[in-house]
Symmetry: C3
Subunit: 440 residues, 3 copies
Amino acid sequence: MSPNKSISPDDEGDVGRRIYRLIVELYPICRSITGDGYRQTMRLLQSRVPLQIHEVPTGTPLFDWTAPREWNIRDAFVKNARGEKIIDFQDSNLHVVSYSVPVRAVVPLAELKKHLFTMPEHPDWIPYRTSYYREDWGFCLSHRCYEALKEGDYEVVIDSTLGPGSLTYGELYLPGEREDEILISAHSCHPSLANDNLSGIGLAVELARHLSSVPRRYSYRFLFIPGTIGAIGWLCLNESSVPRIKGGLVITGVGDRGAVTYKRSRRGNTGIDRAAALVLQQSGQPYRLLDFHPYGYDERQFCSPGFNLPVGRFSRTPYGEYPEYHTSADDLGFVGPDALGDSFAKIRRILDVMEHDRTYVNQSPKGEPQLGKRGLYSSPGPRELALLWVLNLSDGGNRLLDIAERSGVDFSDIKEAADVLLRAGLLAECEPSGPLAARK
Amino acid sequence: MSPNKSISPDDEGDVGRRIYRLIVELYPICRSITGDGYRQTMRLLQSRVPLQIHEVPTGTPLFDWTAPREWNIRDAFVKNARGEKIIDFQDSNLHVVSYSVPVRAVVPLAELKKHLFTMPEHPDWIPYRTSYYREDWGFCLSHRCYEALKEGDYEVVIDSTLGPGSLTYGELYLPGEREDEILISAHSCHPSLANDNLSGIGLAVELARHLSSVPRRYSYRFLFIPGTIGAIGWLCLNESSVPRIKGGLVITGVGDRGAVTYKRSRRGNTGIDRAAALVLQQSGQPYRLLDFHPYGYDERQFCSPGFNLPVGRFSRTPYGEYPEYHTSADDLGFVGPDALGDSFAKIRRILDVMEHDRTYVNQSPKGEPQLGKRGLYSSPGPRELALLWVLNLSDGGNRLLDIAERSGVDFSDIKEAADVLLRAGLLAECEPSGPLAARK
Amino acid sequence: MSPNKSISPDDEGDVGRRIYRLIVELYPICRSITGDGYRQTMRLLQSRVPLQIHEVPTGTPLFDWTAPREWNIRDAFVKNARGEKIIDFQDSNLHVVSYSVPVRAVVPLAELKKHLFTMPEHPDWIPYRTSYYREDWGFCLSHRCYEALKEGDYEVVIDSTLGPGSLTYGELYLPGEREDEILISAHSCHPSLANDNLSGIGLAVELARHLSSVPRRYSYRFLFIPGTIGAIGWLCLNESSVPRIKGGLVITGVGDRGAVTYKRSRRGNTGIDRAAALVLQQSGQPYRLLDFHPYGYDERQFCSPGFNLPVGRFSRTPYGEYPEYHTSADDLGFVGPDALGDSFAKIRRILDVMEHDRTYVNQSPKGEPQLGKRGLYSSPGPRELALLWVLNLSDGGNRLLDIAERSGVDFSDIKEAADVLLRAGLLAECEPSGPLAARK
């Protein structure tokens, strides 16, 4: 992984298209927080990366929670009096409220309506609904379809099972020079929703493929987990290895056309937070930084006070701010290879900063060293400025990230200057006293 | 005192009207920093609250100062050559410069004019003047009246006494669960001036009545003292109990129609400063925060470097910014029940924050606790956000005030969430390591 | 040096005219980083101030550098085929690239052009060029003259010498009450360039004259050194005395009509940085503050990480921002007595703050002392405010500079108030625990 060459638009395009193709493959599968759809998804990812698939038996205590019963569904529909299927799970897996208990009944319209969910403000869209922890059943449908329902009896069938089984998740560990880890987490429990979060799954897979092919200072751990219960479960079952996490990203909603949004970790100023802010600021493109708040995706678990990990969230448009969120309109047309490729490139640059952020000490600190006699001085320009900044601030108290922040010089130029000066014997690496995480 | 219910507009109106009625009663009395008018004022307050009245004998050393001679006045006038009273103390006690020495003389106009004070820019108003520490006499009058004065001799009578006696002040102590005190101070030495500071006296009386009827974590001490010398005197005579003061407010000028102004303590970031800023910010109404400056009212004494107390000042329009200040135009029409009630409600909310600002520790800090199984999870909304904020930040290092500041959630919602979580066993109170005062 | 009287416009005018006259005298001399022009300049300064002239032999190791060979030049010209001098060193010493090696040759135009430098965007100006550390020769000329050159052979003569000798610099030390030093540095190696840096030389000379005539708490050291190598050389040869430097200014480009620019030291918040910011802010005139960056003038050496001195830079328009920089247009018309006098006055005020910035302790800290009985209280006004601010903040933790910053009161008023209170016995001086330099 070279920090000195940014990914070229062509590479971005290639990567973006590869991510998009994976999304297309995953899209039809009916996932929930447990069940065969989840397993099928994990096995499909194994065709790309050597994912380990874990099964956590129903009933396993997971801190304040318990691994839930496993839910599976074969079919579901609602038929009108004429025997026509007016709602059909085979058309869209969003039609059934996730974790619906099995039902076989004939009910009048008034009774049926208590179990129907629509979006009047978007009459053609099907909403996405779940009922994980309260036993219930229901159907989601377009408001237009709902309004066409006539009085009469309806046959309702949900051919699902809810019982002992297990909670499934995928994990991939890429060892690096150090045991210190960077965590990449994507929730993988949503059915046919492209941005939330097939985009995150796809990006994480490509990132794992890329990182597995380059030298790594950090070790990397990828989690493909069901939201909330998966994050809590992984933390519980792997508590002893949690302290090795020195940075991380929850990746979700990275395929829409909006600007990138980075949500800071609870600590707010850790290495990953500063790396993300620097990369986005130096990208020259619009972006937003959000302070931590204890709602959203799995960053709320990683940043719970008992762990307080340096884990931020990388998204494009935040989930509350696009109407397609958690509806059938979050489909394959809502995400695109360009946005996916751009998200990938920016995350890669953030991780580049993490990988190459070292502390050096100027070996000729009294006055400037004579760059000319070492062939390092040409004419004043960005390259020489980077050399001067690195020399001036390399006093053992500044990382390259500090230098990039203070100078406004692009991190990759700062890193290149440090490499040049290191080769010239003008810098020596210094073991920073503390961990890389929180600073300033 | 429940922090969960803000005072309703009707209550505000009631309180405002009660304060206004007290102002009306106090208005005619001629007060100065000593004397019978001061005593009469304190006795009138005793009809509302069980005030203790203290007398400090003339000559008592009070740090760098000395209790002054007592001043009393029976009558004063200026008569023209025709024997007509053209200035008459009976018409307005502002006519005589406070602490004027006794005079009985006939003087020509030129001599008289050396002792006359007017406001040419407001020709109908009588200014308010004092000469506490320099022996002199004088009359204040409208500029219109001054300009009508004709050449000739004038009979001048000031029937006052200035001699050994005492300095009077009122004090009320309401014990609470703790010996830690909150100080409420109102200067009470001004004659017929409604906003400065009958409004402060009246508000403090109503506040004492209210606080005496509710449970109190803090003890409260109310001071009705003459400005400057009274504050210095009280500090000197009660020096050993000063360290118990953990917060306080100088209350003055709280009846005019301007926006509320809070002046921070010298330390600038104490509990009371932050509580005031939070309440005013969350009120949704215009307000101003001023940094400490060593002039103004008695906050300059409480915040002198030898005490440096966490005492701020609560006012509406600051004294330098309304032309009616220290003139006959600061009359019963200049203040009103609405502004008084609003000031009362805001001060009560500030004290509510002080009373209920605790530090808790999340008892299920690893991942989020499962709110659903405790019946605490409904749908996402302000109530659930408050629960999540309190759970996430309750790590022993954040008070509720910190949580309210960081989250932007109303303090009363944060407090309610903490109560709910405490009852559910998800929080435990934690004794904060330091005092509540200065933080950050 | 009285901090209480600011320099009057007339004094400024006198000083500005004296500086300008010295610039006029120095302007024709051909200076470089070594050589007789430099010596002649130093001797001319000795007619104003008792400068010590140091000679550092060629080859002396100076940290990572070495004292260079000495360069001298007697004459130089280019003649066309008709024997006419078309470029003549006697017309302008900018015509020859500084440190040009000796040349006597006849070359065709194409060859000559490889050694010619012009400014096409300013066709009448001669640029200023050097080649200190790479052996070369060259001529600078106006682009208009360059474009008139015709094909043919040209006689080129540079009658220079480059060989063993020494590097010359001037130094002036003014002892004060303390050994703690303030450093004033002006690079003196440029030929006929008025603003850069004859203005700095001239201002430093007048400053030395002024400071030698007044009491000094600090000792002052003035350096008239060649840029870069001179600063590095002085630091190397005087390393043991460097820790005595408690503040300093690099003075350059102080004669143009632009607003004053202060560039902070690397530490950014030292005494001199805060004094400069305060003086410029309180001047009521436009100014700019720049954060440190490791390029520019000799501040880059004084602020190298091995020294990290509290030395800032005082200029008017920064060097990169006026087109006349390093050209023949930086001439005697580009600088003026008014700007020079204004720069002098502001630097003097900055040094006044350094000289008079003490820490006091209020001797009557409980409540306000009674100013009236000491005749210190008149009517409320700026003078009383200054007294109250000094009394309130003099708790041993604030210098007068802190008080001026926090209060917004002019430093000279704060200083005067402190003097008055000291005489009244209300303040005592306190030895600050740390050095004066970095604070906050």
